[in-house]
């Protein structure tokens, strides 16, 4: 098969590994404000990028990174680019703030971007974004583009003129094959994104970066939005502590099990 022209859609999110205290909720503005943590690529998107790079290594081709958002970090994107992608396409617009854009609107903007860029054989996305965990954008995008989609990939391979994908199920996996162009949403089982070298990051500055605009794409995210955020509150956490008293560890264990059953935790 000829070289694959791949597109990986990546989302910039506040580092999900930050401590709970790093996520401050502004109820009034209905926003989560990250404190003291950097933006990162949503981890599943990193997996998608890793999958794409591996395919490129095996079969040649190119990897384009596409990110839509507001206040996108060049550093984060360059690092992603440096991992082994070939070019970067950004749509950075306040209207695309991740707090404003719902899945539908995101997919619509991405679809417009993909149409505008044109010519991709394979589109990869993360299975879901680390901030919303909705998992809708990839499939929505495929729908809008009218191409087949395979979710939850744990392995993506080229097979003949198409692809073969192992898709994670709760108790195993299913194998799908699809013709190209197609879209795959990638799961973490694919493996972590490799670490670029410092040299690669610095050199990535010389790789092509394109900027798209909403007007250029002729898409209005506001009119595509279907979701209304009514309120945003941090989950209330309540801790009640009960000491299990017993004479021996064995007895305490047994008592604890009973209690857990009583509370319907087990």
């Amino acid at each position: 098969m000829s070289e694959l022209n791949m597109l990986v859609c990546v989302k910039q999110v506040p580092d999900p590994e930050g401590p709970p205290s790093a996520f401050e909720v502004d109820r009034e503005a209905r926003r989560v404000i990250p404190k003291g943590i950097p933006p990162v690529l949503s981890p599943f998107d990193e997996n998608a990028l890793e999958a794409a790079i591996r395919l490129k290594e095996e079969h040649g081709g190119s990897v384009t990174l596409l990110s839509v958002g507001s206040g996108l970090s060049r550093a984060v994107m360059l690092k992603a680019l440096a991992s082994g992608a070939d070019r970067l396409v950004l749509l950075d617009d306040p209207a695309c703030d991740r707090e404003k854009l719902d899945a539908q609107a995101t997919a619509a903007v991405l679809a417009a971007a993909v149409r505008s860029l044109g010519g991709f054989d394979l589109i990869l996305t993360g299975r879901q974004a680390a901030d919303t965990n909705a998992g809708q954008v990839g499939l929505g995008l495929a729908e809008m583009l009218g191409i087949p989609a395979v979710p939850f990939a744990r392995k993506v391979e080229v097979k003949g003129a198409g692809i073969r994908v192992e898709s994670v199920l709760p108790d195993g996996y299913a194998v799908y094959e699809a013709e190209l162009p197609a879209l795959v949403t990638v799961s973490h089982e694919v493996g972590d994104l490799r670490y670029p070298s410092l040299m690669a990051i610095k050199q990535a500055k010389s790789l092509p970066v394109e900027e798209l605009t909403l007007t250029g794409l002729g898409v209005d995210p506001a009119s595509e939005t279907r979701l209304e955020l009514v309120s945003l509150v941090p989950p209330s956490r309540e801790r009640r502590c009960r000491l299990v008293e017993a004479d021996s560890p064995e007895e305490a264990g047994a008592r604890l099990a009973e209690l857990l059953r009583e509370e319907k935790i087990l």
Partner: protein, 429 residues
């Protein structure tokens, strides 16, 4: 606190430029009067403590934007804190150091990231150390030492080596010597080995304060798990993290904390450490920033008008660890201590801190070379310090510049004096 929360501090700057100089009482010469590596090297006002605050003010006021140039200026700074000490001679209502930290957190939150620092953070997340070396090999340095496994053997004293001592092969003998020294004084000592992790201080200074908190939480639980009642660290960076940053983040280690110089002073005072062998040397002492002004204990956060803040809650740099290492040095027979001009709360930085070594190594080396010159100006044969980061960069600088100066860790000299070692030529490697 976010950058805009420091608005009053930033707009409180009168631009007097005291932040660029050693506190004026202590200016002793033309040559060594400046205190800030950043503005001394780069000259534009923006590089000074004041300049960085004004840039912050400018951005918060919507007059300018954070971009790569501004980010680089913010990070071309060791966060050594000398500006903060100098500023506080005159001001009660500006916490310059906090503004510098907030600026970095702001950069990180805005995704204005320095690539080298991103890698450091990746390394930390992946391997629990700033170098990205394998976690499993963290304890290798202690191989064959007579020391307890802190995990399970319940030592009284937990020895925390820190990332640099754990992985820097050139410093391996130094840290092993420190342990031998403590053991020779009969200290019931344990190390966590592969279970030790980074203190997270570096992440904090790079602006990744959230990531840093994860490490603090982790450290607290690990220390508790060992059951040790005393924590001794040979690393000044870690000491400052434990003594200042952790309380600032609301984390309690729940142990008695010592920097090794303090612990040696205590042991010597109790007669457990006997420094009897003569070490005939004219030496000068370099106060590591993190052992000195930056380790000053956290005394609570003052809410409201800082002009009314009690002096006891103002960080002035005076309460760092300055006397302990000097006392130990002086107790070594044969050692003669000559002071450099910039010492204690107004000491010139070694150059390695604040992520400069990682991102701007040539600037770090220049800063170290400045200090070497200052040390040479005292006529001393040796520069002594007690921080692996300082030690490393000074040894590199001496090698680079060919300066005739030996560089020692305090424990190296103490070890010799305790009759447990010998000095191996120039730099005791």
């Amino acid at each position: 606190m976010a950058l805009q929360d420091y608005l009053r501090d930033m707009e409180g700057c009168s631009r007097c430029s005291s932040c660029k100089w050693v506190p004026f009482n202590q200016v002793k010469s033309w040559r060594f009067a400046k205190n800030c590596p950043s503005v001394t090297r780069h000259n534009l006002h923006a590089f000074s403590g004041s300049g960085k605050m004004i840039m912050g003010l400018s951005m918060v006021s919507g007059r300018s934007e954070l971009n790569d140039t501004v980010t680089e200026i913010i990070y071309r700074c060791q966060l050594c804190g000398a500006c903060d000490t100098a500023c506080k001679v005159y001001r009660d209502d500006i916490d310059l150091m906090d503004v510098l930290l907030a600026l970095r957190a702001h950069c990180v939150e805005q995704g204005q990231l320095i690539p080298e620092h991103m890698l450091t953070i990746d390394a930390l997340k992946r391997e629990d150390n700033v170098f990205g070396e394998p976690k499993a090999r963290r304890g290798d340095w202690a191989e064959g030492l007579d020391v307890k496994d802190a995990v399970g053997e319940k030592p009284q004293v937990l020895f925390h080596a820190g990332c640099r001592y754990s992985y820097d092969p050139d410093l391996r003998e130094t840290v092993r010597g420190a342990v031998r020294l403590l053991r020779s004084a009969g200290v019931d000592l344990g190390i966590a080995g592969a279970d030790e992790a980074c203190c997270g201080g570096r992440a904090f200074e790079l602006g990744y304060q959230g990531e840093s908190e994860n490490f603090a939480d982790d450290m607290v639980s690990r220390v508790k798990a060992t059951g040790a009642s005393v924590l001794v660290t040979a690393c000044s960076d870690c000491y400052a993290a434990f003594n200042y940053l952790y309380p600032r983040m609301g984390k309690e280690l729940g142990v008695e904390l010592y920097h090794i110089t303090q612990y040696l002073e205590k042991l010597a005072g109790e007669g457990r450490l006997r420094l009897r062998q003569r070490v005939p040397k004219l030496v000068t002492w370099h106060d590591p920033c993190h052992l000195g002004r930056k380790s000053e204990p956290f005394t609570g956060e003052w809410k409201g008008d800082k002009l009314l803040r009690p002096v006891t809650m103002k960080r002035t740099g005076k309460k760092g660890v300055y006397d302990a290492p000097r006392n130990v040095l002086k107790s070594i027979p044969g050692i003669e201590l000559v002071e450099m001009e910039r010492i204690k709360g107004y000491a010139w930085c070694c150059g390695a801190g604040g992520g400069v070594l990682e991102a701007f190594p040539e600037f770090a080396a220049w800063t170290a070379a400045e200090r070497i010159e200052e040390a040479l100006a005292t006529g001393a044969e040796a520069l002594v310090t007690s921080c692996p980061w300082c030690l490393r960069i000074f040894r590199d600088a001496v090698e680079e510049t060919g300066a005739l100066l030996e560089v020692y860790d305090l424990t190296e000299l103490a070890l010799v004096s305790a009759g447990e070692g010998v000095l191996a030529g120039g730099a005791a490697r």
